[in-house]
């Protein structure tokens, strides 16, 4: 990684070499990456709108049925139109986004924590521990992730928390592999040897010396997994094993719109576009992060 050393020229008597902090350097590179900035802006707008959904349209509008107003096309009053029960689609999409994004982010966080713990154990200790852990990871990875998530949701029952657990569980193997590879790549560096020789505890070595030096690829993988998790959660809800009605969620809104495909196709277009926008922006940010963390990888 290039560390620019700045040298203030005005005072030659005391030359100060100042190394910009790594975070600043990454932020600087991110700012230069236009797609990443666009992604970040879109993502921020979506997150803000979803966070303040209650202030934009109250939750009541998303679940109160009003059969008189059913299937109204988009207009000034109902920006995205109304669904088969006369509920405001804009309100449903906003409040649905709360759940979709919450599942996406929290399952990514969940699998990141689990993945970092197990991956660094496997990478750091090696030998039997590594073998046993990685073989179990192979087994879980051999099951198609969406079917795995479906089975877990069926076993635990359909609820928001269980959906998060199911999605996280099916995503963790990928993160464990990335963390393990990253840990392996710095595990035999001199400073780790030095820390070991100095009698530092294993936990402290992993936490203080190894993880900060391989956080880059892990961050990228976790960012990308948020996008995949949003898609996975939407797919589960679409298949009817996710969020229970009438609670809105992007996947379930699309699933409900199936029967009105001929007459009211806006019902499926708007939530679909929201899913695309959020996964697209997350992917852009992930790409930008990868390039900013390691400019050599940039293509």
């Amino acid at each position: 990684m290039i560390n620019r050393k700045t040298c203030p020229m005005e005072d030659n008597s005391q030359v100060i070499y100042k190394k910009p902090s790594q975070l600043k350097e990454i932020a600087r590179r991110m700012k230069k990456n236009k797609p990443a900035v666009i992604g970040l802006i879109i993502l921020t707008i979506i997150i803000l709108m979803v966070l303040f959904a209650e202030h934009i349209v109250p939750y009541k509008a998303a679940i109160t049925q009003n059969v008189k107003n059913r299937l109204e096309p988009p207009s000034g009053v109902h920006w995205f139109g109304t669904d088969g029960y006369g509920r405001d689609l804009f309100a449903r999409c906003l409040h649905g986004g709360r759940i979709s994004l919450a599942i996406g982010f929290s399952s990514a966080a969940f699998s990141a924590i689990l993945g970092i713990i197990l991956g660094s154990i496997a990478g750091y200790y090696g030998g039997f521990t590594d073998g046993a852990l990685m073989r179990s990871v192979d087994v879980i990875a051999a099951i198609p992730s969406i079917l795995m998530a479906l089975a877990v949701v069926a076993a635990l029952g359909a609820s928001q928390l269980n959906l998060i657990i199911a999605v996280a569980f099916s995503r963790t193997p990928a993160i464990i592999r990335v963390v393990r590879t990253a840990v392996l790549s710095v595990g035999d560096q001199e400073y780790v040897e030095a820390a070991k020789a100095g009698g530092t505890s294993d936990f402290r070595i992993i936490y203080k010396s190894i993880l900060p030096n391989c956080i880059g690829p892990i961050m990228v993988q976790v960012t990308m997994s948020v996008a995949q998790n949003i898609l996975a959660a939407a797919t589960l809800s679409f298949l009817g094993l996710g969020i229970n009605p009438p609670t809105p969620e992007w996947g379930s809104i699309i699933s409900e719109s199936k029967e009105f495909m001929r007459t009211a196709n806006y019902l499926m277009i708007f939530p679909g576009l929201l899913i695309i926008l959020s996964t697209l922006s997350l992917n852009l940010v992930g790409d930008g992060l990868r390039d900013a963390l390691d400019p050599r990888l940039k293509t």
């Binding site: 797609p35 073989r135 179990s136 192979d138 087994v139 879980i140 051999a142 099951i143 198609p144 992730s145 969406i146 079917l147 479906l150 089975a151 877990v152 069926a154 076993a155 029952g157 996008a227 898609l231 939407a234 797919t235 679409f238 298949l239 009817g240 094993l241 996947g251 699309i254 199936k258 495909m261 001929r262 196709n265 499926m268 277009i269 679909g272 899913i275 695309i276 926008l277 996964t279 697209l280 992917n283 852009l284 293509t299």
Partner: protein, 316 residues
């Protein structure tokens, strides 16, 4: 080479055993029992108990698992579906070809669209041939497959009736599902092909070929692509598994009788033999595909073949 192949094939056994144990455990903690599912709401407690006993569901977990394994391995019997009363094998035999067909078509679309455009955009980096496909690929990579399927269905089946919306009565039925599964993966393969190709065309031997005066087309499609192909083949192999197992939503949407939808209805109905059979077959196929990908490496890259035959390659 053969020793390596043998070892890799042997590795599939513990993985399949692990898969079967995990799926069996998850199914065991799923609430409800098969008899209630079979009889519906009308069944009396006596009938429920009797059927559960007939199915052997009243025995302890490990005994049931052992019995399942014994029957599957020794008698090649994956059991009988609780819902349909037909053997799991006959269901798999009917559905597997459909799944493989859809997956193959999707993969063909993905590779035939993704790889050439990816190579082209790498060669013409920063031109319109690069930016336009790259932006489009980013967009397609973000689309949920089931939504893309619905949009295709809306446009190419309901608005302009070219293809049937559901069913696979003729080849036309395969078009929309394969497109909706293939296009997002095409986007992914485009990105892979592009970055892999970019890396390759910067290497010295390509410059040498250019200096020698070899025609541009031959340099790109013969010299460079051959070396850039390895990561692309890996991703195609991984994608085969992903599409085969992940086509559930698309299968449901287009009412295609594939393996994925068989597992989903199985999960919903707590039809343990169907779920077990389906997932085990899927995972074995995925492992085999990855094995084939590994062998293809050797076919493409003589350096790897040399490693195999010297037996230096560490176990994976």
């Amino acid at each position: 080479m053969w020793r390596y192949l043998f070892r890799r094939c042997l590795l599939i056994i513990p993985i399949t055993l692990g898969v079967s144990f995990i799926v069996f455990s998850i199914m065991a903690i799923t609430p409800g029992d098969p008899a209630t599912m079979i009889l519906g709401i009308g069944g009396t407690q006596e009938d429920i108990d009797r059927i559960n006993q007939e199915l052997g569901y009243d025995r302890p977990f490990l005994v049931r698992y052992g019995d399942y394994l014994y029957k599957a391995v020794v008698k090649h019997d994956l059991g009988t579906s609780y819902q349909f009363k037909t053997t799991v094998w006959s269901n798999i035999k009917q559905r597997l070809p459909v799944s493989v067909k859809v997956t193959t078509f999707s993969l063909l679309i993905a590779s035939m669209v993704g790889v050439p455009i990816g190579v082209l955009s790498a060669v013409k980096q920063y031109s319109l041939f690069d930016t336009f496909p790259t932006v489009l690929a980013l967009f397609f990579a973000a689309i949920p497959t089931f939504w893309l399927g619905m949009m295709l269905m809306l446009v190419l089946s309901l608005k302009i009736p070219i293809f049937p919306a559901t069913g696979i009565a003729s080849w036309k039925g395969y078009v929309l599902p394969s497109l909706s599964l293939g296009l997002p993966f095409a986007a992914q393969q485009l990105r892979f092909a592009r970055s892999s190709m970019l890396e390759t065309i910067r290497q010295d031997y390509i410059r040498t070929a250019k200096a020698k005066g070899a025609p541009e087309n031959i340099i790109i499609w013969k010299h460079a692509l051959k070396n850039a192909l390895m990561p692309i083949i890996t991703i195609i192999g991984i994608n085969f598994g992903l599409i085969l197992g992940g086509a559930v939503a698309t299968e449901t949407l287009f009412s295609i009788p594939g393996l994925g939808s068989m597992v989903v209805t199985g999960i919903k109905m707590k039809d343990i033999p169907m779920v077990m059979g389906g997932i085990i077959v899927l995972s074995i196929i995925c492992s085999l595909i990855m094995l084939i990908v590994d062998l293809l490496y050797a076919l493409i890259d003589p350096r790897i073949k040399a490693k195999y035959s010297r037996g230096r390659r560490a176990a994976i």
